[in-house]
Symmetry: C3
Subunit: 477 residues, 3 copies
Amino acid sequence: MHKPLLAAEVSEPGPQPGLGGPVIGIIGSGDFSRSLAARLVASGFRVAVGSRAPGRVSRAAFPAGAELCSQGEAAQRADRLLFVAVYPEHYHSLLGLSQQLQGKVLVDVSNASSLSRQEQSNAERLAQLFPQSSVVKGFNVLSAWALQAGACDGNRQVPICSDEADSKVAVLQLARRLGFSPVDVGGLCAARGVEEAPLVLFPSWGRPILLTFLLFLFFYGYNFLRHILLPFLDQGENNFYQLPLVTVNDTLPAVALVTLALVYLPGLVAAVFQLARGTKYKRFPGWLDGWLCSRKQLGLLSFLCAGLHAVYSMCLTLRSAAGYTLLNTAYHQVKAGVENSWVEQLVWRSDLYLSCGILGLGILALLAVTSLPSVGNALNWREFTFVQSGLGYAALTLSIMHTLFFGWDFAFFPSAYRYYLPPVYLLALILPCTVLVGRVFLALPCLMFRLAKIRRGWECTRHRPPNHLEPEATGDV
Amino acid sequence: MHKPLLAAEVSEPGPQPGLGGPVIGIIGSGDFSRSLAARLVASGFRVAVGSRAPGRVSRAAFPAGAELCSQGEAAQRADRLLFVAVYPEHYHSLLGLSQQLQGKVLVDVSNASSLSRQEQSNAERLAQLFPQSSVVKGFNVLSAWALQAGACDGNRQVPICSDEADSKVAVLQLARRLGFSPVDVGGLCAARGVEEAPLVLFPSWGRPILLTFLLFLFFYGYNFLRHILLPFLDQGENNFYQLPLVTVNDTLPAVALVTLALVYLPGLVAAVFQLARGTKYKRFPGWLDGWLCSRKQLGLLSFLCAGLHAVYSMCLTLRSAAGYTLLNTAYHQVKAGVENSWVEQLVWRSDLYLSCGILGLGILALLAVTSLPSVGNALNWREFTFVQSGLGYAALTLSIMHTLFFGWDFAFFPSAYRYYLPPVYLLALILPCTVLVGRVFLALPCLMFRLAKIRRGWECTRHRPPNHLEPEATGDV
Amino acid sequence: MHKPLLAAEVSEPGPQPGLGGPVIGIIGSGDFSRSLAARLVASGFRVAVGSRAPGRVSRAAFPAGAELCSQGEAAQRADRLLFVAVYPEHYHSLLGLSQQLQGKVLVDVSNASSLSRQEQSNAERLAQLFPQSSVVKGFNVLSAWALQAGACDGNRQVPICSDEADSKVAVLQLARRLGFSPVDVGGLCAARGVEEAPLVLFPSWGRPILLTFLLFLFFYGYNFLRHILLPFLDQGENNFYQLPLVTVNDTLPAVALVTLALVYLPGLVAAVFQLARGTKYKRFPGWLDGWLCSRKQLGLLSFLCAGLHAVYSMCLTLRSAAGYTLLNTAYHQVKAGVENSWVEQLVWRSDLYLSCGILGLGILALLAVTSLPSVGNALNWREFTFVQSGLGYAALTLSIMHTLFFGWDFAFFPSAYRYYLPPVYLLALILPCTVLVGRVFLALPCLMFRLAKIRRGWECTRHRPPNHLEPEATGDV
């Protein structure tokens, strides 16, 4: 269907659509209240909207099924569930209703006004104000817009939490009835997180992006210094025209390579930790946990840089500069009477590094595709490992070869160390090569088997009371 | 699993698989009936297939669990649900069964034969024929093929509608049991839409594609006139070889740029409407609503054109023409004895417009990725806004810069106006620049704050009875 | 939410979170047991973990909610469900508990140790050992890791099977409670498949990849022979520098073209089968079924090759070789005093084949996008057909034109048959052209209508008892 606006997945023989349905109360007649009422009516509920001054609210804004009444009436009419669509700073104004709200389930739909985990959550404040009602946090991640145009994100997750189990279940069911997929995130203590959910901006991406950006700055600066500034100060060479494109294109591959290495480094570190501790049941230090969790982001950023590098490179021959250079070379070749300027070795070199680069990028693209939720979820454990680890290391190896073929033997000529600065690609290779060597090292039988055993649950005895029975001994999975 | 062909998500303690299951009736022994029976049996139901002439139907085509009988028997055996797998034009032939069908739930699985919203829906006709049975519309979007190979699209949505709530719930549950995700789309009045759902072909794409195509025709024609036809008529220049590639590549960026501008224009128009009306609760005119809803499609089409433009451009140097031009230029440079044909300014120009173009395309690619359902649904409201609006305007700005750097100062030379026709890129820039200026204008504090207030629900009083209480005053969300 | 680690979709008024929840038993205190316990407690269940030697297990590894006890106690405490988290080879060690396990539901979470469909499944062995308990197979596809970090793949499917319906339903509900989407795959006979599910590696990809790889080997070898080896042996030409890039880039398009043809060939074969048999209710031979099922994979592989070919081609001008060739040509042009080396015909040729190639690739890209689960599921039947068949054939036609324009009239010069070997592109064209011709042939009215009738369920009488009533006659869908 193209507009399941009235989408309501009735998954249990609970309240039925139609006039016989239960009455859901909404306190507050604002924007959210209007959209919510529309959605509830569409899903076959009766709705009682309680406004401070019902007479004064423009009736038209509410659907036919909804009835406008005073807040008190709404509280009374509601069979069990009541949405509190009032700004948190006005909660106290509802204290007068505590009688009618007694024993009812209050759904707090408010968002946090700022990101400051210290503060108490609105839901908890509401719960304190109305000790005799049970408070459930939820629906706040849905904008009024999302409530109306449910089609566009019908399967958006709606985190819901509460300390009262039954009330929570009721709200979870309601959420599903309205076409959303509720997620139980535990007790009311989680409410603050839920309230701040709509405010956070790509929380898991912040650090990886910052890291990549810093890497970019470093390598760009290094290139600028080495190829543009120093030659200019030294011999007055004017290479500034390289700034917008050439230098960027020299920088991107370095960033991509280092970032890709950073994707696989934490895995090695973790392995070392487990080997050293002889168990996998000790938690990793926080920084390692965080690093392990941001591997996907780092990988995608690496792919982004690699992709841009590819496009930039393929545009190199489009540049006027390329044309001029070629023409001038042709001119000199003719003048010098060189009939054939072919250099077999350089031909091999360029073809080899192009091939490696293209294949490496292709594999990275496959990895990127499998990181799409809908694709990744279709993989089983072994497939996931094969793609992420197997293909990943293949891509890393190919990228390193790409760089090595590009650098060729230049690293061994002093001329490559202009102003005593090593070429960028050498710097960029350090970390990736370390990772690769480390990986090979961990593949040594002795280490590999021990690691496999540890990962299977085995624990090195000296780390535990000697009389400990090993899981494997009892055959526990 | 790789073939959850028998997938049946038992989500409620309803009928259990196995012999003890309830009997589902199917009237009609055609193709759909066979597949449906197979699926039902696989999910643990007993099935009674009613054929006009059971003896004559090839038993083999039906699964073991299903029993073939007369239509009357099938109607009787069925505990509650009966699928009517008969062509609508034969519904009247079932009138004889009205006794046995009394109080049963008839599921109408027929599709519309043509797209003509005027007509009455088959389901409604069925309901009229059998007033004592309750009719539910559904399952028609599933082809016989989809019913059998459920694996491939197990989570396809199945719109279901009916006027009887309980019957609808029963069918919704059954649909889930069979591994589909049912969607309640309301009363039987929605049946016509459901019946036509399988017939429509990308309804939301028609207009955007048409628009883009017309834009393409216009710019292609303009380029043809300006670079090929007129020069040919005028000086007999033969540029016809440009038709297949060069002209297309001159046209695509213009189309992409204008289309991208059309993505952000409606947002500005909507803002102006809201500012002028001083409220957001008045509906937008239909054309604006439609426009707002097709922004995603326009954006993707713009990305498609931009992407093609990029590929075309990167292939430019592969063309024989490019080679010949370069060779001839080399020849003349040598003849003219020009040792260095380097033009610093043109070098900068080409590098700058290439960079802007590449970055703009990169951002558009990110936008395209977030428009994938599985990705977009993972974004919260703020992230969605940031990507669509923030990144979107960044892409627009970069594209405009790309075009400006490309055009450089040529616009100021009369020579650029061959035959008094301005260069294409000038035409293409008009709309995008307008949008950008408009956006900047709306960012003026006075307007911005007023707009924010309006979008928060505030309404300019002069548009409402003066005694109206403002939502914010009552603190309603 | 960003970490619905405690995700538990309570979709039925079953056991509620909190202390009042039912007790789930787990036999075995290994790794899986620890993660499972954590997840269960998080979803509000009480857990009794039965270890052979509870005193000796490190308590810390288990969540607060879980109680450690002897296996016997765990069996007793468990209200109904008991997870058997013990290696299959130790099942017999539990025989002592058969009393306490009587009437309980045992969930077998073990994986197969190897891929050998012959063997009896662990679950079936467990069922034999404990005839008085009912055994359900499930949860084995979830690694301990997946159980803990539910966030990452919260909606992973969990296949579950059992011979006892009610027990299965209970486990299905539990799985949903824990935030997974269970899939009922039938009786315990399916257990073996479920146990091997985590071991298989892209089962549906094996053959298509092998086929594509063999095609690549063949064409690569052919190119090597024709362009490198024979010229070397014959005239000592040294073209070995072409191996890494040029030859690969000559091979990829041929592979892509043939693979794409293999996507559409089975459809034609199937149509011929149906026409010949006059019915669609006879099963196709196995090889054809398998072929039809791997069309998607073949299509994606074809797209991969085509994409690589595009990138390789766009890198051609980046190669040193390209530069040298151009310079040398320039040199000779100057020496020869040829002012203009322009060849109109070759210009047209290159522009035409580039255009066709780019457009063909663009369409293939669209096809690839629609093959993403989240996108494909949003298409209705007609849209799916339009994209896969309509656009698919358009892509095939464009690719063929791309090749024809590339080959131009060279095929008619004897010089094209060096060493009596036809050029690769001729070989690559055979199959695609056959498919295209076959498609056109099937579009002949007489065949088309008959096929349409057959696909609508009509059967040619001579294949059935003459007195058979045709579905259409009874108007059955």
